[in-house]
Amino acid sequence: MATVRIQEAPFDTGAEIAALTVGRTDIGGIGCFVGVVRGGEGPGGVREMTLEHYAAMTVRAIERVVAEAESRWPLVGCTVIHRVGTLRPGDPIVLVLTASAHRHPALEATQFLIDWLKTRAPFWKKERTADGVAHWVGAHAKDDEAAARWESSGR
């Protein structure tokens, strides 16, 4: 049921929503999250971001997170698209769509999916800032906390 794709090319959010809903009458709400490359001002502002991934593992890892979401909420459709390669500020980087009969499952599952994708899918970001320095992005404790929140809440 779920669509999971890794691609270098941009995605069209409207087209993906249309693909998720075409011919369906059981959907009452679509949850949508689009992650975007954030730039920033000054010498530390990001100019370019390159995403590396473990191609043999990535889709399977994401499908596991989707399966977990499907076990927690009554979803009738789900799309996850994650881009790799070199991106610039303003570029969309990840798309999460969920479809359900009602809004709350769709919205909650969307937040769950992006929180868990951040800590359970094998991607790594390297940023190049305006001062020309390139560095690997470190894991953020707040991402771990956001992901862990879903462990304790039972949802």
């Binding site: 995403l51 590396e52 043999a56 593992m57 994708l117 790594w124 390297k126 690997w136 991402d143």
Partner: protein, 88 residues
């Protein structure tokens, strides 16, 4: 004892520090876990030693499943070593 080859893959800054994206390793007797393999690799060159200096920053997957230092490793396995993931 017969050879026990595994394929080790490196990602992100770990790949840059060891200077290669993959290597084949023959598991010696007594090396049967991810942690044991990392100890073996860390002792294999100065670059590896530096890359693995802070073990708490190393994550692993065995045959495309997330693993821990205690996860068993056996002949034919694909063992990926990498920093904490930063996607999304």
């Amino acid at each position: 004892m017969s050879a026990r080859p595994v394929l080790v893959l490196y990602f992100a800054w770990l790949r840059e520090r060891v200077g290669m994206s993959e290597q084949r390793v023959d598991l010696p007797p007594g090396v049967n876990t991810v942690g044991g393999l990392i100890d073996l690799l860390a002792a294999s060159s100065p670059g590896h030693a530096e890359a693995f200096a802070v073990r708490a920053t190393i994550r692993a997957a065995v045959n495309q499943d997330f693993a821990t230092p205690e996860t068993p490793v056996t002949a034919g396995d694909e063992v990926a070593l990498f920093p904490p993931v930063t996607g999304g």
